[in-house]
């Protein structure tokens, strides 16, 4: 056995020989014989492998394939192995037990009839030739067919250790810009070596591109915007422009949050999304600009001019999802990104709950007063932001505050301010949505309303219903995503003090969540399968009409673009999702020229007209935002009538 420990540690063991001998009917192989055999077989295998490498090289590959071995056997006048075909790699499984180790190939039993009756597999695509410019007069153009000039790994390395970039400036020269004769000569003659700094000049083309892209992204032409976002999401070689792009976004957010320009904020967030989606970019260096911008869009107390009408909730949801994506992508043990973001959101919920527990000492009372002022919209954003970070976060940071949040919701709902009531409704709905799956995991049935009331305060009963609903539909509970949202809406209706308002306020959220589905995975498209009986969602496809100003009629936040109210059965129908195109918003950001519309229509006519618009709090900028005076902001945004492009 000592022989099996050779330095190129690849000898067949005596044991293997014995096992193989047994398998072919030689009951007891003498040790000596097995050893001889093992040595000989090892030698032969190795020579075959050595020759197979030649075949591999001549096939211009770097991976040995089974065919190579077959050809080697053929060249050595041995019979090939037949039927041993593995397209990619041989999945050896490993098992050990009783001091023995075993490598084997897992072979599944195949049912022949299954194969016979199965539809024939797709015919592989034919080989085709495609040409592109790898270099034009010595310069490699940055087109998608070429690799990004600076690979993601290098960008990552540079962001961690900027010195690497400085230490090899010549490389950059060779890869990126052409060194025309004059420059080369200059460089050669230059005897004094100035410390190389990272270069930030953009070429004329790049400046032009930057101008075009930024204009298109915030312009009014949706088609152009889609193209621009597509370019941001796919084009390699944008890394040189990244600093500017990120500054553009961050400045844009600062300005527009002050001006409450919801549309532009949305456009900017879509830019962030596109940059995040670009495979060839590594954004870590620019997070210090992006994260405040994104978090502003999540928790800012006011994002739009008419909080009671505009769907700024969608923006908060979208930004929260972006934040979650950023955390997932860039979180490392050194930057502790997720922890810091979590703390940021948790802070919005934290102070009051502590004070609540401490039952009112002097100073804490003061702080309570302070925190009471945290607007509901910000609370909503914080909840959403935390919820996107996963159920564990929900459990630790939201659940303990449910009682206090419930009080806030209760207070607002019973209050007079229309905007506040709307916000409270949204917040409540959102809380139920994120909490139900978590509570379901935590608590054992039976779910008694009294227990819930005791544990969770005001929201208890609603939560109980939501939980039992989740329990009833296992699939919905499992996924916990958008589908669950649809299912957990109905219990709201009876439990809420004023059902009409609740149903109203709940609706925008639903539009958002139905978009959620679209973004996360295009497959589970319609909420129809899991629609609970008391509620009816009708999906109406309609041709896009020219964007019209939001009718600020008595039905405030209800937008009807579809001229088909006949579809809607009144009375028990609560909302209608109007969307154009049966495929939902799957290609929303793509290039569908008439942008798709997702509008929720609440058909509850007898609304207690909640239009007593309490004056929205004067634009006070939340923490991450630094309002800059005198920034010549863009002209007032177009009427926001369409959020579907968020998808």
């Amino acid at each position: 056995m000592g022989d099996s420990e050779y330095a190129y540690g690849t000898s067949l063991s005596v044991d293997s020989m014995k096992v193989i001998a047994e398998s072919v009917g030689v009951a007891s192989l003498a040790d000596e014989a097995a050893k001889e055999l093992a040595d000989d077989v090892t030698y032969r295998l190795k020579t075959i492998l050595q020759d197979a490498v030649k075949f591999m090289h001549h096939s211009r590959r770097q991976k040995l394939s089974i065919a190579d071995i077959d050809y080697t056997l053929k060249a050595k006048n041995n019979e090939c192995q037949y039927g041993f075909v593995q397209p990619d790699f041989v999945p050896f499984r490993f098992a050990s037990g009783g001091g023995r180790e075993l490598h084997f190939i897992e072979e599944k039993e195949i049912d022949l009839s299954e194969i016979l009756y199965a539809p024939p597999p797709k015919i592989p695509l034919d080989v085709s030739v495609r040409a592109h410019w790898l270099s034009v007069d010595g310069v490699q153009p940055t087109v998608p067919e070429n690799p990004p000039p600076l690979s993601k790994e290098v960008q990552k390395l540079e962001s961690v250790d900027p010195i690497t970039k400085l230490s090899k400036p010549t490389n950059k020269d060779a890869a990126g810009k052409p060194m025309c004769g004059k420059a080369a000569r200059l460089k050669a003659s230059e005897s004094v070596h100035v410390k190389q700094l990272a270069t930030h000049e953009l070429s004329v083309e790049q400046q032009l591109y930057y101008k075009e892209i930024t204009e298109a992204c915030v312009g009014s032409d949706e088609g152009r915007r889609a193209e621009a976002l597509q370019s941001l999401a796919c084009d390699p070689g944008l890394h040189e422009m990244l600093p500017r792009m990120c500054t553009f976004i961050s400045e844009g957010v600062k300005v527009n949050v002050v001006q409450n320009n919801l549309a532009l904020l949305i456009y900017l967030m879509r830019m962030v999304k596109a940059l995040l989606d670009n495979q060839s970019l590594y954004l870590e260096k620019y997070l210090h600009e992006l994260i405040p911008s994104v978090s502003t869009c999540i928790v800012s107390r006011q994002l739009c001019l008419r909080p009671e009408m505009d769907n700024h909730w969608a923006l908060r949801d979208f930004a929260a999802r972006l934040m979650a994506q950023i955390c997932k992508t860039f979180n490392t043990s050194t930057n502790n990104l997720q922890t810091r973001v979590t703390r940021l959101f948790a802070k919005a919920l934290q102070c009051p709950s502590q004070t609540n527990n401490e039952t009112g000492n002097g100073p804490s009372m003061a702080s309570m007063k302070e925190s009471e002022k945290t607007p509901l919209a910000s609370l909503y954003g914080a909840v959403q932001g935390l919820a996107e970070l996963g159920p564990e976060v929900v459990k630790v940071f939201i659940l303990p505050r449910v009682r206090w949040l419930g009080e806030r919701v209760e207070g607002a709902l019973s209050g007079l301010g229309g905007a506040d009531r709307l916000a409270a409704g949204n917040l409540k709905h959102q809380l139920l949505k994120v909490l139900a799956p978590v509570v379901r995991q935590l608590r054992q049935p039976p779910d008694l309303p009294e227990d819930y009331k005791r544990d969770y305060g005001y929201l208890g009963p609603s939560l109980q219903q939501a939980v039992s609903k989740v329990r009833a539909s296992p699939s919905g509970g499992g996924s916990g995503g958008a589908v669950a949202v649809v299912t957990c809406t109905p219990p709201l209706v009876p439990s809420a003090p004023s059902p009409s308002i609740i149903s109203h306020t709940a609706k925008p959220v639903e539009t958002v969540t139905s978009r959620n589905v679209v973004i996360a995975s295009p497959a589970p498209q319609s909420p129809a399968p899991s629609t609970p009986p008391p509620q009816k969602f009708v999906i109406v496809t309609s041709q896009q009409k020219p964007p019209q100003a939001q009718p600020s009629s008595s039905t405030g936040h209800i937008v009807v673009h579809s001229s088909q109210p006949t579809v809607v059965r009144s009375q028990n129908v609560q909302s209608v999702v109007v969307t154009s195109g049966p495929s939902g918003g799957a290609g929303g950001a793509g290039a569908a020229p008439p942008p798709q519309k997702v509008v929720v229509v609440g058909m509850q006519q007898p609304t207690s007209s909640s239009n007593q618009v309490s004056q929205a709090p004067v634009s006070v900028v939340t923490k991450p935002v630094f309002a800059r005076g005198g920034c010549g902001g863009p002209p007032p945004p177009p009427e926001l009538d369409d959020l579907s492009h968020l998808a």
């Binding site: 190129y8 030649k54 770097q62 080989v127 085709s128 030739v129 790898l134």
Partner: protein, 650 residues
């Protein structure tokens, strides 16, 4: 008895020499040797020593280790001017000691010996040692490729005169080193050269062959590396060309004509290094070929002058959906056709221009055509346009190389099924199957003048063929391992072949003799390419290194700084010979300043540091998107075409 008695006889002779009669008698009796045998004892001294030492060492495996250690010490303590040359001796001695240990059944010792010293060997020997170390007993030596090579050939070591006398003195002084003396006598050929000992870099530049360095004598023969005088084909078609040109671009024609005249003035100067035009018989040019040549010349007059400051554009043809099945590719001389060989035995030809691929008319229709008609060649083709690609079926194994003939009418392919096939690009069928190679054929190339082609394969031979003979005209034997690549000299008189034995050999087509052997590659040579002027040879190895050789001397001109990380499978010279492009399966195309390379090689060999060299020679590197390069080709106007296969985004 005969064999066994040899040591006895030797001992007897020794006893007799020292006049030890008593012992001699006893030995005779005990070994029962007849007087007849004993009377004619006249073994030469050397052999006597040989037998005795062999006998001695056989019984003592430990002496090997001591002897090797002592040789190592000798090399290390010798003066620097000898050290590096002498150190090349260590590897062959080590290998043969290992083999002898195994031959004498000291398997355990052999194993320990290998483990102890293998790491000290040069890095480029490690692959061979890995291969050798699988030999673990006597029976395996016979039949092992590498062991056979070592035991049946002599390893060449070049030493300066002083170094060799140092070695001799050492060997005489050391009593224990009989093992080494034996090995040196039997298996190593010491080449003594006059002149000072070489430096480490110099030694390293030329070592690397399986059997050591090339000896100078082997590279003595004269090689006519100059270009042939071009036959005056352009005189005839030129007026026609000019007319056409005038029609096309009347405003520019003047300028071009001036340029063209320049080309003519340069050419006809007779090159002292050029072979006579009739040294090997070249085919007469047909009318169509002349037309093609004329076209080529016209194109050439339009080409861009390349240099480090005007780099070529690269057009990259990506093969999509090929999934590892596309092996090789070639682009025809006028850059209109692309052929790709696949691992599933098919060859596909694509047209790269809007002109579709046409077939020939059927036999009945062909009969109707008037053969005297001027446009018979056009008439015999089918009228309607066909596909943009065509498949050629016939091989029964992976197609390792496809090659267009210079006149775009024929295609050669070689395959694992050990055949070479000639395809017609007019009928789109196989015309001839050339059988001759025994094992897979790795490479096949046309002569630049057509008619001849060369192939090399796993059977360690390179062969020269003519299209009208079904058997090879020449078989070039000498490589110790697979002939992996082959290339014609631009004057068609020579063939260069690269091999897994890490040498490049140049063969004379006329005599069949090996006229150059070039050592210095440290890995298998996968591609060789002659420069446009014919004097230089570039080669790429499996380690990603690219070397440039001087055909005149057979010595490496430059070792380009290592930059590829995977085997180099494609090399191309720009048409004006100023740029060398290399493509590798590490998905990079690199451009080298060939003018600078040759300038340095011909001028003073200034020892410049490596970093500066890299800056100087490597002009630019273009990564592709996960597409290993299969083929590189400069068009007549110096646009670089590259072919690669997209291997997915993983």
């Amino acid at each position: 008895m005969g064999e066994k008695s040899a040591p006895f006889l030797a001992v007897l002779q020794l006893l007799r020499k020292y006049n030890l009669k008593g012992t001699e008698e006893i030995l005779k009796k005990e070994a029962s040797l007849s007087d007849v045998e004993c009377d004619n004892l006249d073994l030469p001294e050397v052999e006597l020593a040989n037998i005795l030492t062999a006998h001695h060492t056989e019984s003592d495996p430990y002496s090997y280790e001591c002897a090797y250690e002592s040789l190592k010490k000798f090399v290390e303590t010798s003066l620097d001017i000898y050290k590096y040359e002498l150190s090349t001796l260590l590897y062959p001695v080590f290998v043969h000691m290992y083999l002898m240990l195994i031959l004498h059944d000291h398997n355990e010792h052999a194993f320990n010996f290998m483990e102890k010293f293998r790491s000290e060997q040069e890095d480029y020997c490690q692959d061979d040692l890995k291969k050798l170390s699988i030999v673990k007993n006597k029976n395996q030596i016979k039949g092992n490729e590498l062991a056979d090579i070592y035991s049946s050939n002599k390893f060449t070591v070049q030493l300066s005169r002083d170094a060799s006398s140092q070695l001799k003195r050492y060997l005489q002084e050391q009593k224990s080193s009989t093992v080494i003396i034996n090995i040196i006598n039997k298996h190593i050929q010491l080449e003594v050269h006059d002149g000072p000992g070489r430096t480490q870099a110099q030694v390293r530049a030329t070592t690397g062959g399986v059997l050591g360095e090339a000896t100078r004598n082997e590279n003595r023969a004269k090689v006519y590396y100059g270009l042939l005088k071009e036959p005056d084909i352009h005189v005839l078609p030129l007026p026609v060309e000019d007319e056409e040109e005038v029609e096309e671009t009347p405003d520019k024609s003047k300028k071009k004509k001036a340029k063209k005249d320049n080309i003519f003035i340069k050419k006809p100067k007779s090159d002292p290094n050029a072979p006579p035009n009739d040294r090997i018989p070249l085919p007469e040019l047909k009318e169509t070929d002349k037309l093609e040549k004329g076209k080529a010349l016209r194109e050439a007059s339009k080409r861009i002058q390349l240099g480090p400051e005007s780099l070529p554009s690269i057009c990259f043809y990506t093969l999509l959906n090929s999934g590892n099945t596309a092996i090789c590719a070639d682009i025809c001389d006028d850059s209109t056709l692309l052929a790709v060989g696949f691992s599933y035995s098919v060859i596909k030809v694509w047209t790269l221009t809007p002109v579709k691929l046409r077939g020939m008319k059927s036999a009945e229709k062909l009969q109707d055509i008037d053969r005297e008609a001027g446009d018979v060649l056009v008439r015999m083709m089918e009228e309607k346009d066909r596909d943009t690609s065509r498949s050629l079926y016939g091989h029964s194994g992976p197609v390792y190389k496809v090659a267009f003939d210079p006149f775009k009418t024929l295609l050669l392919s070689c395959s694992e099924d050990s055949s070479i096939r000639l395809w017609s690009l007019q009928c789109w069928t196989c015309v001839v199957v050339y059988r001759g190679h025994v094992w897979p054929v790795w490479d096949v190339r046309w002569s630049p003048h057509g008619h001849y082609f060369a192939s090399g394969g796993h059977d360690r031979t390179a062969r020269l063929w003519a299209t009208d003979h079904h058997q090879p005209l020449r078989i070039f034997v000498g490589h110790l391992s697979d002939v992996d690549c082959i290339q014609f000299h631009p004057n068609s008189n020579y063939i260069a072949s690269g091999s897994s034995d890490r040498t490049i050999r140049v063969w004379d087509c006329l005599t069949g003799a090996q006229v150059r052997i070039m050592t210095g590659h440290k890995t298998t040579v996968f591609v060789v390419s002659f420069s446009v002027c014919g004097r230089w040879l570039a080669s790429g190895g499996s380690g990603g290194e690219v070397l440039v050789w001087d055909v005149a001397t057979g010595l490496p001109a430059t070792l380009l700084p290592p930059s590829h990380t995977a085997p180099v499978h494609a090399l191309a010279f720009s048409r004006d010979g100023t740029i060398l492009a290399s493509g590798s399966i590490d998905c990079n195309v690199k451009l080298w300043d060939f003018t600078a390379i040759t300038d340095e090689a011909t001028g003073e060999e200034v020892a410049s540091n490596n970093a500066a060299k890299e800056d100087k020679f490597l002009l630019r590197s273009y990564p592709t998107k996960n597409s290993p390069i299969k083929c590189l080709h400069f068009t007549r106007r110096n646009l670089l075409l590259a072919v690669g296969t997209y291997e997915g985004s993983s």
